[in-house]
């Protein structure tokens, strides 16, 4: 046996050697160690066709393509009591169409070592997830609407899994320390987080960017919470100088409980300081602050809540961990990347944003990336979008027997105009409904209807007026036709019309110029599919997606039809 292992250690490839080392490690350690396996397998095949004005007078760009792969993510969880746990995701992937070993890869998808350093301190080293407050370090969602039809959310789940973008966490590489100290029993807790990390992909840097920070919080369960946050990001990019950005914040909430009601409020306030080398011996220093206050009333019996909030985020407020985009407007799709005789990158559509596995960003950016206003006009950089001042009203009921619903109205304006004295005003109206037909019919089978609507507008008076309005609708249904056999239908529609001026941001996170544009665009995405559930953790989805974009510019107008099959299982 020893000879066999030695032979493999010498002759195997690098991933193979790692695997053998790991095998030796777990087979020679003590018997109190635990070894668990879990993971995911997925086979995807997709075939798509592109047509439309973007391909006129174009003889080179692709019109029909198909791709597919089969992957197997094996999560090995090796634990020695509480002191030490190693978690290794090994990915074996076979691209459909590979021949003679071409297209087969074996990678370590993620590696994390974690355990208890002392009674109160938990450590994690390797691929770690970090999340703090929405203004300091939070990976804001790219989804246009709060709730999506299942036919769309199934696609997006795959992309988010591939990009490690789940629940507002940033996937980083480095060290994370957590501590939870119970004070006076379990009801009072002191929570401490410290991390020192870098981005997952660091090839665009001359040296690793640094993201360090932490928080200290006191929580009295369901009653009171007070937290201090600090994040410092530092990076040295190839084409720009050093950038150092620090964000501090204090966050708190308080809830007073009665028998039927709970009333309370939340608040967060903080500031950012940035220093950037903009040339030889020249630096740019920017300081700004933000604050948010929110009052909440919760009906405990019927489980709905209403809130009213006011917030101001300064025009120079910088928080890379909160303002980096999951999908920047200039990212290209993995299918039909180019049009115009392979000369121009094809513009993104809704299907690209939810279905292209390479479109999501996994790095934090020290400057605001380009965004596409038709997908998010009012808060393109999440809650921490700078230069906003306004109020929010909302109602949320997600535990109703027959109908879940939410309403949100937001009105705000710029703190300072961009390039002109006149300030923009913004309006956002959003509503979402999930009608649980199965409960109305008293049926055990899944039958749900989804409906979402969002209206966004930006307007400015003066010499450079803007009047862009965007209407977004998402309706869909999921019906369990037979036992464990679902039919999914969904339709998204975005209509954008009006004039706007896009402020171009340079690598020093300052406005460098303005791009006026007139947008008359309608985009439709229809999705339909059937999903067969073999078990609770294994399904086959066969679906079709039809994405149409029609604009006044030919190169931005195209039709994309896609057949997508996904067989997934988790264990």
């Amino acid at each position: 046996m020893k000879n066999l292992i030695s032979k493999h250690l010498i002759t195997a490839s690098v991933p193979g050697r790692l695997g053998w080392i790991f095998l030796i490690f777990i087979s020679t350690t003590h018997s109190f160690a635990q070894l668990k396996f879990s993971g995911l397998g997925r086979t995807v095949f997709q075939s798509q066709q592109l047509s439309g004005d973007a391909l006129k007078n174009d003889s080179l760009s692709d019109r029909n393509t198909s791709q597919g792969y089969a992957l197997f993510d094996l999560r090995t969880n090796y634990q020695i009591k509480d002191k030490f746990r190693i978690l290794v995701d090994t990915r074996l992937k076979n691209t459909i169409g590979g021949f003679g070993g071409v297209g087969i890869s074996l990678n370590l998808r993620q590696v994390r070592i974690e355990g208890l350093a002392s009674k109160f301190v938990k450590y994690s080293v390797g691929d770690v997830d970090i999340k703090m407050s929405p203004f300091t370090f939070s990976n804001s969602s790219e989804i246009e609407l709060d709730i999506e039809s299942t036919i769309f959310s199934r696609r997006r789940e795959v992309v988010q899994y591939e990009s490690f973008n789940v629940n507002n966490h940033w996937r980083m590489r480095g060290l994370k320390l957590n501590s939870v100290v119970n004070l006076k029993g379990d009801s009072n807790q002191l929570k401490i987080l410290v991390f020192g990390t870098t981005d997952r992909a660091t090839d665009s840097y001359t040296k690793y960017p640094i993201r360090i920070g932490g928080s200290i919080a006191f929580e009295k369960k369901e009653k009171f919470f007070l937290e201090g946050n600090m994040v410092r990001t530092e990076e040295n990019q190839k084409e720009t100088g050093n950038a150092q950005i620090q964000v501090f914040s204090t966050r708190t909430w308080y809830l007073k409980h009665w028998k039927k009601w709970a009333l309370g409020g939340t608040a967060e306030l903080g500031q950012s300081n940035s220093i950037r080398e903009t040339g030889v011996n020249t630096t740019q220093k920017l300081n700004d602050y933000f604050y948010e206050g929110k009052c909440i009333a919760i009906n405990k019996n019927q489980d709905w809540k209403i809130w009213a909030a006011y917030q101001e985020v300064g025009p120079f407020f910088e928080s890379p961990g909160a303002q980096s985009l999951r999908i920047s407007g200039n990212r290209s799709s993995q299918f039909f990347t180019y049009v115009s005789n392979n000369q121009q990158i094809r513009s993104q559509g809704m299907l690209d944003r939810m279905g292209s596995e390479t479109i999501q960003n996994i790095n934090i950016s020290s400057f605001r990336q380009p965004y596409l206003p038709q997908y998010n006009l009012v808060f393109p950089y999440g809650k921490a979008t700078p230069n906003r001042k306004g109020f929010d009203l909302g109602l949320l009921d997600i535990n109703n027997r027959f109908l879940d619903y939410s309403f949100q109205y937001h009105q705000s304006g710029e703190v300072l105009g961009e390039g002109v004295v006149e300030k923009r005003s913004f309006h956002l109206l959003q509503s979402a409904f999930i009608l649980k037909i199965n409960r109305i019919l008293n049926s055990n089978r899944k039958r749900s209807l989804y409906a979402n609507y969002r209206f966004e507008s930006s307007g400015r008076k003066g010499d450079l007026p803007t009047d862009l309005q965007i209407n977004t609708v998402d309706v869909g249904a999921t019906v369990e036709i037979f036992k464990k056999f679902d039919l999914h239908l969904g339709m998204k529609r975005i209509q954008a019309k009006g004039n706007e001026v896009y402020s171009q941001i340079n690598s020093y996170n300052s406005i460098s110029g303005y791009l006026p544009y007139a947008m008359t665009q309608s985009e439709n995405l229809i999705g339909t599919g059937i999903q067969l559930h073999f078990t609770d953790h294994c399904f086959l989805l066969v679906s079709g997606y039809f994405n149409r974009i029609k604009t006044t510019e030919a190169l931005l107008s195209w039709n994309l039809n896609q057949l997508y099959t996904n067989f997934s299982y988790e264990f």
């Binding site: 009295k220 009653k223 009171f224 007070l226 204090t250 708190t252 308080y254 007073k256 608040a267 306030l269 903080g270 500031q271 220093k285 920017l286 300081n287 700004d288 602050y289 604050y291 300064g314 025009p315 120079f316 230069n387 300072l416 105009g417 961009e418 390039g419 002109v420 004295v421 010499d463 450079l464 007026p465 004039n499 001026v501 402020s503 300052s510 406005i511 460098s512 110029g513 303005y514 791009l515 006026p516 544009y517 007139a518």
Partner: protein, 334 residues
């Protein structure tokens, strides 16, 4: 147990803590550079672009242009002489064009002069706006320029200015034509000198000033800040050198005698394009050993333009226009 009082104390403390937060450039009216992009609903009112005068006499009039925009925009206005190629540029950010931002006095940004009698084309471009607006006008009289003129060669048979020609007697085809109209740089005429260096001694001819009281013109002037300016072109093959001579009346006898008076020389190699030659008198080099070795502007009796063939033994020519003195700086139209 945290009471409400404690909570509000903590919250108030946090508020006070962050009330000291500073905002960079918080007193600015807007962030970023001024947005001068042209809005998509932009329009130019009325006739687009019009000139105040269709025929302008710059001696007594100042031309300007009129246009009214729907928004404040960034614009560029170009005035181009259709014959001379002379140009004048204006740019600004405003809602109107008028005398305050487009006053045109006939002086060019280019090396070339606008010419009397020529038509000028005017183009208005607005940043971010595809359509251009145009107008035109004609020039009747050109303005005077800030200099002391020696000769503009507009009077071909006068006896003032550069009109004393000494030619190499052995060279052939040596010509001097004041009042040349085929090749014009300033005004309506220029001056041409040409010839063939038959005896291979470089020198073809020398054209000197006559009946000009240069001593008075330059009395009390500093050599280092007094400039002799002229515009000249030669041949495209570069075989023309123009030598500028300052002839002093060292002994103040009213004549230049090379055995008694000091001679100073400057030189310019000519090309096929017009060029401005501006030489500070202090940069001229002494020729020979006569004199005190100090250039004295108040003693300069004559200026001579010497045409040299380089290399020797070849045909060469030059056109010269608008010879003048300026004080303090080389000649500029504006």
């Amino acid at each position: 147990m945290l009471t409400r009082t404690r909570f509000f104390s903590v919250f108030t403390f946090a508020l006070i803590l962050f009330s000291a937060c500073k905002r960079t450039e918080g007193t600015k009216e807007y962030i970023g550079p001024a947005d001068i992009t042209t809005p998509l609903n932009f329009s130019v009112n009325g006739n687009g672009l019009s000139a105040k005068y269709s025929l302008v006499n710059f001696i007594s009039q100042t031309q300007f242009f009129h246009s009214v925009f729907s928004h404040t925009v960034a614009w560029n206005l170009e005035i181009r002489g259709t014959h001379s190629g002379a140009v004048r540029f204006y740019s600004g950010i405003s809602k109107t064009l008028d005398s305050s931002n487009t006053a045109f006095d006939g002086k060019a940004d280019s090396l070339r002069f606008f010419l009397p009698g020529e038509t000028c084309a005017v183009r208005l471009k607005i940043a971010g706006w595809a359509k251009e607006y145009s107008s035109s006008f004609a020039i009747n009289q050109m303005p005077s320029f800030n200099c002391t003129l020696l000769d503009d060669f507009e009077s071909p048979y006068d006896s003032i200015g550069f009109c004393m020609l000494y030619t190499d007697p052995t060279d052939s085809l040596v010509m001097f034509k004041e009042g040349e109209t085929d090749v014009v740089f300033e005004g309506r005429k220029s001056m041409k000198i040409n010839g063939f260096d038959s005896n291979d001694n470089y020198w073809i001819s020398s054209l000197s000033t006559k009946n000009l009281n240069i001593k008075t013109m330059l009395a009390g002037k500093e050599a280092s800040s007094t400039y002799l300016n002229l515009f000249a072109k030669g041949l495209t093959n570069g075989k023309a050198i123009l030598e500028l001579q300052l002839q002093e009346d060292e002994n103040n006898d009213g004549v230049f005698n090379s055995s008694n008076d000091e001679l100073w020389k400057g030189k310019a190699t000519l090309s096929g394009d017009w060029q401005k030659i501006s030489l500070a008198l202090g940069s001229f080099e002494k020729s020979g050993t006569i004199g005190n070795g100090t250039i004295e502007p108040g003693k300069i009796l004559r200026i001579a333009l010497v045409l040299i063939s380089y290399p020797p033994g070849d045909y060469t020519e030059t056109y010269v226009d608008y010879v003048n003195f300026t004080f303090g700086a080389p000649f500029s139209q504006k």
